[in-house]
Amino acid sequence: MSSHAATHGGHQESGNGHGGGFTPVERRFPWLHVVGYVLSLLLTVLAFLAVLHHWLSGNPLVTVIMVLAVLQIVVQLFFFMHFTEGHGPKYHILALGFALFFTVAFVGGSIWIMSFGDTQAY
């Protein structure tokens, strides 16, 4: 799997929204999508196995399946959503980056606040 452009001809144009000026590109086998699909299946199976076969437990398990979930985002973003491609300034990367940061802040912050100092011995 080299660059997306190599596998997909001109079609990276669209990923980032250059849907306009439409001209069909020549046919290629959708390698990138197939690889993405296989990877996503793999990650999912791993997560399932880790939980159902009790490879780990407690916090380590949570950490592992969260990491697997994050990898899934990466797969979707790069193999299906063509996240980094296209012309022009890549403001959408910034937008999603912020969203990710605030997601962590809001979820983490809420959990921290709502635990009411549960772990705080005083």
Binding site: F116, G117, D118, Q120, Y122
Partner: protein
């Protein structure tokens, strides 16, 4: 609550309120270090650089950068926030501990009801409404909850407030270091009767407090289970009431029922009091 004590927050009657007042004073001084120069500078600049023909002040329309100046006004606020931050963090952690380590604390359980305050004394077995009596010079551990919408428990002269929340047992340490009657009020809006949810804290020397407890036990009626339910359901304000006893476990049951069972911390606070 005589004339000179009207600025309740500025007239603390206990160590907690005093710590808070100290921080308030520190913060006022620190922000004034900024505010006053800003005001003076503003007055000066708008006067000096007014646009009239015979103004001789320099006019430099292109001058718009100065590293030095900018360092100054990033730097000074950083310093002030730094200093204030240290005080704040220190006091934040200090106030979760009892104000005075030596004396053994008194525990009072506080419940916000619509629209009155119920106080239960687990060690004395008595209960009061809209008045809470405490011994002076002894730390009091208020354990606060609500059997009503979220409220706040606030006695300005003794110390700042803590929310009274359904399903939560919140601990608030207060202490009065002199006898007196202190004004308290609900701190968070709970509906129609909220405006009249005032109560009084009566602080007396320990001996008088003990005598008062004895008196209540002898001469006041008991708060029965149905009486308790009536208080909860009444949806009205009530005058001050005193009870020689209250239904055992009503405080814990209320908290548990409303979600306390999910909070490790609540369970430990409730259990520690038993």
């Amino acid at each position: 609550m005589n004339g000179n004590a009207q600025f309740l927050v500025l007239n603390p009657a206990g160590p907690v309120a005093r710590i808070e007042l100290h921080l308030i004073v520190v913060s006022i001084i620190l922000v004034l270090i900024i505010v006053i120069p800003v005001m003076l500078l503003l007055a000066y600049i708008t006067r000096r650089y007014r646009d009239h023909p015979d103004n001789t002040a320099p006019y430099m329309p292109e001058w718009s950068e100065s590293k030095l100046l900018e360092i100054i006004w990033w730097g000074i606020p950083v310093a002030i926030v730094g200093i204030l931050g240290v005080y704040t963090v220190y006091d934040t952690f200090a106030l979760v501990r009892p104000p005075m380590k030596s004396a053994s604390p008194l525990t009072v359980q506080v419940t916000s009801l619509n629209w009155k305050w119920l106080f239960q004394y687990p060690d004395q077995g008595i209960a009061t409404v809209n008045e809470v009596d405490i011994p002076a010079n002894r730390p009091v551990q208020f354990v606060i909850t609500a059997n009503s919408p979220m409220n706040g428990f606030w006695v300005p002269q003794l110390g700042g407030q803590e929310y009274a929340m359904p399903g939560m047992a919140m601990r608030l340490w207060l202490e009065a270091d002199k006898p007196g009657i202190f004004y308290g009020h609900g701190g968070n809006f709970t509906g129609r009767g909220y405006a009249k949810m005032a109560f009084h804290v009566v602080s007396r020397p320990q001996r008088d407090f003990d005598r008062w407890v004895k008196l209540v036990k002898q001469s006041s009626p008991a708060l029965t289970q149905s009486g308790y339910q009536q208080l909860v359901n009444a949806q009205s304000n009530t005058p001050t009431l005193l009870f020689s006893s209250y239904p055992a476990g009503s405080f814990e049951r209320t908290i548990r029922h409303q979600g306390g069972m999910y909070m490790q911390r609540d369970l430990s606070i409730i259990n520690a009091d038993r």
